[in-house]
Point group: C2
Chain length 219, copies 2
């Protein structure tokens, strides 16, 4: 019975997701859905990517949180237009929320919107929000078994970003296990090893994202 | 519309949750619901608590995961009866699952059941599973803003366990922020600082749990 209810919501979400994609395509905006556990470093990654991309692209951010506006405040201090989406307890972002928020941006002048999804390895993966690109973060302290334990997240992502890589010497984290399982589950997704603290790996990730943006919006 | 559906599920869950509690009370079994992010160290904490409690109590474990049986395998190698609950994509454990699993244990001889909930700071907090005790883990690498960002989890817990405390020197983690926010949100919940790697803090936490078990089952 419960499964049936979830399906109804998902089907409804798919319709709206397609409408969001159409609106973004019309305005040549690339939507990037950033997902990962609480504390994986999603906001820090987005700020580092903005620093590396803002000379080339006009960028906006939608910050999803259960409550509060800590993350949107961080983005706004960078002079980047940010909308805080408060899900009021819900564990994922749905396409309808993105549809409601898009008119708050000047879409004609924007090139890229980053969406920081709710910190959660489960539900966000089930809900398309009209994105062009999914980026999933896994941070070293979380452990090397997460690709196996949260399969949908890592099967449906366009790239796996292993964050807090500078901490790998302090943790029992077998990166080969993570990478080989990701390659099995999702052979097309590249794996990037980065640290938002030391900066390592971020240029490689930025280069890959830049190419994907360029493929979509033609600049 | 979506909110209405969630409420229906929650109400249904509450009925079953009460039935689970009655069954546990009748058999003098204490159910401990362990929650936290992916990789916060839930399985490691449970194994360390078992090591410290197994001389006094007969213990069983229900391991909740989206997929796989990595965690139940770890518990079973300790000679502890373990049931792997696979939620097949669902992001939390519901009381109905616990009700279905209880007959798989010899409840008359058991004293304590640990339930390792799905790695998720959101949904598990919404679903009572008939537990006597909720323990919420937050690991240092996740960051010091989680009590604010995931309020229900930390408001409804009986104890906050800050895990990976041995790593605090490597991370920008303001423990006073975490503790003061937890005290505001939930003044009755003690905060324990532990490391399942070095063992620090585990005896204090075990003592507190032992008292709670004893209050319920009288030994």
């Amino acid at each position: 019975m419960e499964i049936k209810i979830v399906k109804q919501i998902l089907e409804w979400n798919e319709d709206v997701s397609r409408q969001v994609t159409e609106e973004l395509d019309k305005n040549r905006v690339c939507l990037i859905n950033v997902m990962g556990s609480p504390g994986a470093g999603k906001t820090s990654l987005i700020t580092e990517l903005i620093n590396r991309l803002r000379d080339s692209y006009s960028i906006g951010v939608i910050e999803g949180d259960i409550a509060g506006q800590i993350d949107a405040d961080r983005i706004a201090t960078m002079g980047i237009p940010a909308v805080q989406l408060q899900t009021d307890g819900a564990c994922h972002i749905e396409a309808m929320s993105i549809q409601n928020i898009l008119p708050m941006f000047d879409l004609e002048s924007l090139d890229v919107i980053f969406v920081e999804n709710i910190g959660n390895l489960v539900c966000p993966a089930e809900f398309n929000i009209g994105e062009d690109l999914r980026i999933s973060l896994l941070s070293v302290p979380e452990g090397d078994d997460k690709v196996e334990k949260y399969p949908l997240m890592f099967e449906t992502t366009d790239a796996l970003v292993i964050n807090k890589y500078d901490m790998i010497k302090y943790f029992n984290f077998d990166e080969n296990r993570v990478i080989s399982r990701e390659n099995e589950a999702n052979p097309d997704a590249p794996v990037f090893r980065v640290s938002t603290v030391t900066g390592e790996g971020l240029d490689g990730l930025t280069g890959w994202i830049r190419e994907r943006i360029s493929n979509k919006i033609g600049k």
